[in-house]
Symmetry: C2
Subunit: 332 residues, 2 copies
């Protein structure tokens, strides 16, 4: 049995979508059990609407909720009875295998570091979302946990990301690329020039520098960069998807024949939109802490939560944390 701890209170659609996601996951995966952490009364009221295997789901009460806008470190330190802190404490005490939340990203990183704690030999945990590309998907590491990085951290990001893509997403020999302002080895800023040399020597399928232009085309499976650049990459891809569809829609509205065309092609447009939808790919991993911590998108619906639970299950099943620890111990 894989024991998933689920933050019932985090995210825009909590607790309804979270609880529905938990029920869907229980149906689909007979080898998991879920601890739903949140306001017991509220959670049980929602649970009453569903039929599910009661042996495999329990509710753990937490009286507080960390809001999206709260300063993360402070929130984790003061809201001891929040669903996020209670859930992470369960994880740290070994009462579960992985923790899933759609709540505040900052609080997830802060809680992961302060409560679950970084794994041995890891310099700094990194936040790594799976992002859609034209050929499938790629892991972006780091996307915001570390805005100022040392070259050695980028080397570790490459290693942790490579293990994740191989073990959890089943990609053989993942191609690790370094985001840079040119493809040639000598290109880059002070950070990427040094990181290049470390990644080149590491036991990795390092494909060298990757220019941002080639990221959405699927140039590599693991996209290595500091958290500032990763944040720009992730958010800009989201922004482009939104602005492109806005612009496209505006064009379609200009003439009746375009409108008819758009209606005929609608399923194709919808399928395209689905490919661009982050929630299809599960959540972002907090890699480099002592257990699985998965941050689902804030706007997650039930299906996205179910996908994040699947991700937590595979992460646990493959012993990803242990593999990361072993790999990084070779470095020191």
């Amino acid at each position: 049995m894989y024991r998933i701890i689920l933050d019932a209170m985090g995210g825009d659609n909590a607790p309804k979508a979270i609880i529905e996601g938990a029920v869907l996951a229980l149906e689909e995966y007979p080898d998991i059990q879920i601890q739903l952490v949140g306001d017991r009364e509220l959670v049980e009221k929602h649970l009453a609407e569903y039929a599910y295997d009661k042996e495999r789901l329990c509710v753990v009460h937490a009286s507080e909720v960390i809001e999206m806008a709260e300063p993360p470190v402070n929130a984790v330190r003061t809201k001891k009875d929040s669903s996020l802190v209670v859930g992470m404490n369960l994880l740290a005490e070994g009462k579960g295998d992985a923790f899933v939340t759609a709540g505040s990203t900052g609080a997830t990183v802060a809680g992961g570091t302060l409560i679950v704690r970084r794994a041995k030999n890891v310099l700094r945990p990194a936040l790594a979302p799976v992002i859609p590309t034209a050929t499938g998907c790629a892991l972006l590491i780091d996307c915001g946990a570390n805005v100022d990085c040392k070259p050695e951290q980028l080397e570790q990001f490459g290693m942790m990301g490579s293990i994740y893509m191989r073990e959890v997403l089943g990609i053989q020999n993942p191609r690790v690329g370094l985001v840079n302002n040119g493809a040639e080895e000598e290109k880059g800023n002070a950070l990427t020039k040094e990181a290049y040399q470390l990644l080149k020597k590491a036991d990795l399928n390092f494909v060298g520098n990757v220019e941002a232009r080639d990221l959405p085309l699927g140039a590599c499976d693991v996209i290595v960069c500091d958290g500032f650049v990763g944040n720009v990459v992730m958010k800009l891809m989201e922004g482009c998807a939104v602005s492109f569809s806005t612009m496209l829609k505006r064009e379609f509205m200009k003439k009746t024949s375009y409108k008819i065309g758009a209606v005929l092609a609608k399923p194709a447009l919808r399928s395209f939109k689905k490919q661009m939808d982050y929630t299809e790919y599960g959540g972002a991993l907090l890699l480099g802490v002592n257990s699985g911590v998965i941050k689902a998108h804030g706007s997650s619906n039930a299906k996205a939560i179910k996908n994040a639970i699947r991700q937590a299950r595979t992460f646990t099943q493959q012993g990803t944390v242990q593999l990361i620890k072993e790999k990084l111990s070779q470095l020191s």
Copy 2:
């Protein structure tokens, strides 16, 4: 008369598209004259195909060409008779008002700095392309001339960019935004936290931090960032446009009704594509040198070259270099 120096040999479609662009510009703007720099025989052979005002166009011979892949600084130093170096020397000697090239970006930056030289009080020249957004366009500064920046450089980028958008693109009180990993003042890495404080105090319409998600939506008119981040922003937007249209096309091909829909909506799709087309907006400016240096896209067609010449003309007409010098002298 505005005297434009044009590199006839730079870019994927040189010299044909460059020469055609020059002829188009002469027709449209009666107040410009053009010096075409390149292999005289070749240039004159192409020119023979067009009717144009011979009083306003002359050819300056240059026997060499700087190729795209050459190490920029070395190329500028050794290829003394290249079209880029000859053209920039004409500019530096006051024999022209602005220089336009579709050649190597690196060589343009190197030549601008070594030959045209940075303007007084400018810490470092910056490369600034105009990029399309959902509401119009914005200036991205810097997009790659300075991959490691100090906060004071970012402050100057904001000032130079603001002057450009006001004087050349006619945007009143341009909104200057700092690319950051969060909207709140306290967000950022070491560089952006300090730059925020400088930009806040500067005589600018500073709208604060802008997250990458909001850039393509038109959140600001001047997008300030270091050259590494700017390079990621520019290339990722290009890459998203390419990958999105590839994915969209793939979806359209899946069923006959989608195909018919796509055919009906084709003009709308084409108009959308045109909005995403960089060449429509002219070239990238090298701001902070002693004269106008404009880098047109490497794949520029004749129309893109004409647009870059228009940009060079307005840049000169408005006395942009002098305005930048005056503004930055207030800082020191």
